[in-house]
Amino acid sequence: MTRTSNTVPLYRLAHGRSGDKGDTSNLSLIAWRADLYPLLLTAVTPERVAAWFGARSPTAVKRYDLPKLHAMNFVLEGVLDGGVNDALNLDAHGKSLSFWLLSMPIEVPAEALHDLPDFH
């Protein structure tokens, strides 16, 4: 039997918010539903997130799992060009970084596709 899958942006599976402290950004990622959480655990690894943010040159990426909240918290060090005191970026806090994470492509089993949240 062939298993078909499809690629969707991460926002179909989860939502989140960015926070900053110094040169470190934290990105929460919260599954829209508990049944989608296992997919996040396997698909959104710290290694993949580090690669996805490669252009921002993180010095470390750590993932903390919060299964009771079906959420995870990514802590990305060194991604803010020095942070709010030093960065030349308009968004020195990195408020927009969550939206880059949420655009990451994720392979989803075909049978899961039909009831994923999406823009209406």
Binding site: Y11, H15, G16, R17, G19, D20, K21, G22, T24, N26, S28, I30, W32, Y64, L66, K68, L69, A71, N73, V75, V84, N85, D86, L88, N89, L90, P117, D118, F119, H120
Partner: protein, 452 residues
């Protein structure tokens, strides 16, 4: 032993310096309806205090939250009448001046003089304290042009002041959640090492400290994560019980929403290790926490845990840094992108190696549109070919940084065709380093305004 078994309502009417100032009146009305509570204001981001210190250096009566009148003025009478304490870190660099200003506001409104407590000791000063600070950092502080050095104080002074009858508590640098932990400790009579309850109240404070970020602000994506009424978002109220467990609500007839998804985003906001959220009061742990919808616009956070507080206090040291220059110019219509790109190349060629430039190309719809929005209405917003070039750089010498402003301005005549709308600004940076000092370095306390 708990002094009170009844739950405590705490509303937060500001999430940062510059937040909306009309959040307090609906909160106070709701607290009165519920039979009382506490009102807090959080107005102090990391660098806000350094800016306040600079203002105080200019004038000894300044250095507190510039919007203090607008925040506190409209609700001062109701709070005094109904016994609703007001707690804020709006004292910034100068809590005594803020307290005097509140006294003036009360007098101007024909109110009695409130009993105002001032918290002191967050600012580090003097040779001995600075020497001990130096021992806690590898940064050579003598090399820095220091503007301010402030420790994050905890809840103890706030709690003590309230227990001694303070109606208003004016703080400078305290940790944001301590604004909530303080009144909870005073209300319930918790011991300082009641880590579980203080951990829970700390996360209650964490949920409050960004104002509407827990009631639907900073959440909306049209079509995917819609939130109604964002022009009139209600500020949050937490209701803490004697065990520290809490629910989040907002005043009736306000916009926004409270649900599990929104509350979970805020629970994790600016958290690093969820097992160790460090404050001066406690090490809070949300790894076993639950976020539960208990009604319409009502969410409970349960099972937060607490562990012993850190041995050290965090100190932020702000110092004058280099000069930050940025300048922008817009291109629109035919080949706007190519013209903006050429403009950037021209500026780069002229500045050469003197500055490292950051170049941004920004835009959706701007300079081709008219004020009334007729030109921009309908059609594809991307069809305007609207590109705003932004060039930014920093340098220790103002005159060097200023070259960004001059070269971008000169593009009016010397650059590609049709550049318009130049804006420039230059400002001195306030940079920051943090250190962690033993608690005995900091001599904090509180006093009533009369004695100050």
């Amino acid at each position: 032993m708990p002094k009170h078994a009844l739950p405590l309502h705490i509303g937060c009417a500001s999430g940062f310096s510059g937040d909306r100032t009309d959040g307090a009146a609906p909160i106070v009305a709701e607290l009165i309806r519920r039979g009382g509570g506490t009102l807090i204001f959080e107005t102090l981001a990391e660098r806000t205090l350094a800016l306040a210190q600079l203002a105080m250096n200019e004038h000894p009566d300044r250095g507190y939250e510039p919007l203090l009148d607008d925040l506190v003025g409209p609700v001062l009478g109701d709070c005094l009448t109904h016994g609703i304490p007001i707690i804020g870190n709006f004292g910034a660099a100068n809590p005594a001046a803020a307290a005097r200003r509140i006294t003036e506001l009360a007098k101007a409104q024909g109110l009695r003089t409130p009993r105002i407590a001032i918290i002191f000791g967050d600012a580090l000063a003097g040779a001995e304290q600075m020497a001990r600070l130096q021992a806690c950092t590898t940064t050579d502080l003598s090399e820095l042009d220091i503007v301010s050095a402030n420790a994050y104080l905890g809840a103890a002074e706030i709690a003590d002041a309230l227990s001694n009858g303070a109606e208003i508590v004016v703080a400078g640098r305290v940790s944001d959640p301590s604004l909530t932990v303080g009144p909870a400790m005073a209300h319930f009579g918790w011991a300082q090492d009641d880590w579980t309850r203080i951990g829970r109240a700390t996360m209650a404070g964490h949920m409050l400290e960004c104002g509407t970020q827990v009631t639907g602000g900073y959440y909306a994506i049209p079509g995917l994560k819609d939130v109604d009424g964002l022009a009139n978002t209600g500020f949050p109220i937490v209701t803490i019980d004697a065990d520290g467990e809490f629910e989040i609500t907002k005043p009736p007839r306000t916009g926004g929403r409270i649900d599990r998804a929104i509350a979970t985003e805020q629970l994790l906001y600016e958290v690093h290790d969820p097992a160790a959220y460090l404050t001066p009061d406690v090490t809070a742990d949300i790894t076993q926490a639950d976020v539960v919808e208990t009604g319409v616009d009502r969410v409970a956070v349960k099972n937060v845990r607490g562990h012993p507080r850190p041995d050290t206090l965090k100190v932020n040291i702000c110092y004058r840094g280099g000069w930050f220059a940025e300048a922008e110019i817009s291109y629109a219509g035919i080949a706007a992108h190519a013209r903006a790109q050429l403009a950037a190349e021209i500026v780069q060629a002229r500045i050469g190696a003197a500055l490292t430039l950051r170049v941004d190309l920004i835009g959706v719809r701007s300079i081709l549109a008219d004020d009334a929005g007729h030109f921009a209405s309908g059609g594809d917003v991307h069809a305007f070919g609207d590109v705003r070039l932004r060039i930014a750089a920093t340098h220790s010498e103002r005159s060097v940084a200023e070259r960004v402003l001059r070269e971008v301005t000169a593009l009016y005549c010397c650059g590609p065709a049709g550049g318009g709308g130049v804006r420039t600004q230059i400002k001195q940076r306030l940079n920051m380093v943090s250190a962690y000092v033993p608690r005995d370095v900091i001599k904090s306390g509180w006093t009533f305004l009369e004695a100050a």
